[in-house]
């Protein structure tokens, strides 16, 4: 039987609500809005009574309906006479209203634009101070390591070196090879118009060594390793494992951050060198097979265009990128909050901030190298 709602105004100031049928969640129950509108329109109503003898079944739908009405009884000016209700429903309504809704005060209000700008600025300032503090601690830990006083596990460093270096080779190989191939195609299409296909070698070699090698290796490592660092340290933070280190007098910076920074700083230049060589190989494959360049020509042209300077520039960049990725990953991990969602947020923030930092640093390099005429 479908639920029905019938409203009677028996005598002056008295509203009689007749409920019948099955008031259950799988039925479309009448909207309490009708009663609320009557209450709003007629200020003389001071009492609402219920008649439920026709009610065949009820569940959560009924108390929700009653609470909606109760919310509009003007803080007690209209009396809600619950005596006509089923015993269970009456008790549930009493239970739901037993603890008053706490006064939320100003928290519900929305800050003005200026207040929000001010708060955001304060947060930014605090964040900058925190990052500087973290950098300082990391430098101190490095100094302790140089003097042989840092507390960390050598096995941890070994495992990290292996994870950051050799295990990253397959993905670095794939991406670098493809970047070399793409560079060769893009260059060849233009250069072929002038019959200057031989300059593909110069283009690929220079681009890989100075820009694309360090950049692509860094982006791969930010996504692969930076995120992993943030997630590892973040999970330890959530499990109080970092606290457990602190209370033993072991600095988490020395124990967790230091080996990760060292591992990336050692491995990044090696990975980048590898990426450059694989990229050049990719360019070679394209040029020799699809364009009018022989293997010897390509080899000679590459050697002629590249000198040690290009490699030094590329590898210096990769060193800086390595530091940035490690710092971003570890910083986000250390400042992780106390939940699983916070770990995910930390991993995301680590990748985003690392890539932003890498691109900005590359821009700085471009300006500097131009100024130095290198």
């Amino acid at each position: 039987m479908p639920p029905t709602l019938h409203i009677e105004t028996a005598d002056a100031g008295h509203l009689r609500v007749v409920l019948s049928g099955a008031w259950t969640l799988d039925q479309t129950t009448p909207d309490p809005q009708r009663i609320i509108e009557i209450l709003a329109g007629d200020a003389s109503i001071c009492r609402i009574g219920f008649e439920t003898s026709g009610l065949t079944a009820w569940d959560t739908a009924l108390p929700v309906f009653l609470l909606a009405i109760q919310k509009h009884t003007g803080g007690g000016s209209v009396m809600l006479d619950t005596s006509g209700l089923p015993e269970g429903a009456r008790r549930l309504v009493t239970l739901a209203t037993a603890v008053p809704v706490p006064d939320q005060g100003a928290t519900g209000s929305v800050d003005g634009l200026l207040v929000r700008i001010g708060k955001a600025t304060q947060r930014l300032g605090a964040e900058l101070v925190a990052i500087l503090g973290f950098l300082g601690e990391t430098v101190l830990a490095l100094w302790a390591w140089i003097r042989g006083r840092a507390r960390y596990r050598r096995t941890d460093l070994g495992l990290l070196l292996q994870d950051v270096g050799p295990r990253a080779l397959p993905i670095v190989t794939l991406i670098s090879f493809l970047v070399g191939v793409i560079l060769a195609f893009v260059g060849a299409v233009q250069l072929a118009r002038f019959g200057a296909e031989i300059f593909i070698a110069d283009l690929v070699g220079l681009a890989m060594a100075r820009e694309m090698g360090p950049m692509m290796a860094a982006v791969i490592m930010a996504g692969r390793t930076g995120a992993a660092f943030a997630a590892q340290i973040g999970t330890m933070q959530v499990n109080q494992e970092v606290d457990a280190l602190r209370t033993l007098g072991i600095s988490p910076i020395e124990f967790l951050v230091l080996p990760r920074v060292i591992a990336l700083v050692v491995m990044m230049p090696l990975l980048t060198l590898y990426a450059i060589l694989v990229g050049i190989f990719g360019g070679l494959i394209v040029s020799v097979n699809l364009f009018d360049v022989t293997l010897i020509q390509y080899w000679n042209a590459t050697l002629a265009s590249l000198n040690i300077e290009q490699f030094v520039i590329g590898l210096s960049k990769s060193l800086v990128f390595g530091v940035l990725i490690a710092i971003a990953g570890c910083y986000q991990g250390i400042k992780t909050g106390g939940s699983a969602a916070a770990v995910g947020a930390a991993a995301t923030a680590a990748v985003v901030s690392a890539i932003v930092a890498i691109v900005v640093a590359d821009g700085v390099f471009a300006v500097l190298l131009n100024a130095l005429e290198l």
Partner: protein, 274 residues
């Protein structure tokens, strides 16, 4: 209600008759105020923990028990007041002195907080490896011994994820004892454990106190447990944001008539808090 912290007798609640600080004092908290930014969690905490005590920090959920522990083990700096461990403050020392002071404390965290990438033996061995010059064979022996003490002999090469929650907590106790600390902190030892495992952990706390003489600081709201093992306690009250009772839990249960203390210690069946 304004009251002067120099005169504890005018405070609300139940207080010991004598001033509680002498040469037996292991850990002294004086006028401690804990805050997160502008939000004051607890203020004017004053108590002393004597050597060999099983000291209970009790109070309802969210009243700041764990925050108090984080202050006592040096993870959080007090907003005001002092915490002295054997007469020295963690926040007035730094470097090697602070590390040495920290190593007089051992902590069992609520979830165990074992280092998940290390085996149980390595977990216990790590502090020894970092702070002693012992050879690794000896460290392994010590780790086995500590694991045997908490009833986990034979689990040396298990990883924390491979053992049950109750075992992780006991392994956490073993790690906390790695450097033979003078004070052991337990954060909610019975949380998430079945009654039998919880009671075994209580037995372990009593047994270790008897045999090693270690001072225990236990944060709990588990009534049966705190009445059974506690020799002294403070009650943190969330409404007044300070401590409102101090004394042995059983004495407080019988003699402290403060309504909120009574409500807590009789599981809310009498002395209903307003």
């Amino acid at each position: 209600m304004p009251w002067n912290s120099d005169r504890p007798d005018v405070r609300e609640g139940c207080w010991p008759a004598s001033a509680p600080s002498d040469e037996r004092t292991q850990l002294l908290v004086r006028g401690l105020t804990m805050a997160y930014g502008d939000f004051v969690v607890m203020r004017d905490l004053d108590f002393a923990i004597q050597r060999g005590d099983i000291f209970i920090i009790m109070g309802g959920s969210g009243c700041g028990k764990s925050t108090l522990m984080r202050h006592m083990i040096g993870l959080k700096q007090p907003a005001a007041g002092k915490i002295l461990i054997a007469g020295q403050s963690l926040w007035d020392t730094e470097g090697a002195t602070r590390e040495a002071l920290l190593r007089r404390l051992g902590v069992m965290y609520q979830s165990g907080a074992l280092w998940s990438s290390l085996t149980l033996a390595e977990n216990i061995g790590l502090p020894l490896q970092q702070f002693t010059a012992l050879p690794s064979k000896r460290i392994r022996e010590i780790a086995s011994y500590k694991l045997a003490l908490v009833g986990l002999a034979g689990f040396e090469d298990h990883y924390p994820a491979e053992i049950s929650g109750g075992m992780q907590k006991r392994a956490g106790v073993a790690r906390a004892m790695a450097l033979d600390p003078e004070v052991l902190f337990f954060d909610e030892p019975s949380a998430g454990l079945d009654p039998v495992s919880a009671r075994r952990l209580d037995d372990l706390i009593l047994e270790l106190r008897e045999s090693l003489g270690t001072t225990m600081v236990v944060i709990t709201h588990e009534l049966a447990s705190l009445l059974r093992i506690g020799t002294n306690a403070i009650f943190l009250d969330v409404e007044t944001r300070t401590q409102i009772a101090q004394g042995a839990p059983r004495t407080l249960a019988e003699h402290c008539h403060h309504p909120r203390v009574q409500a807590f210690l009789s599981r809310g069946t009498t002395g209903e808090a307003q």
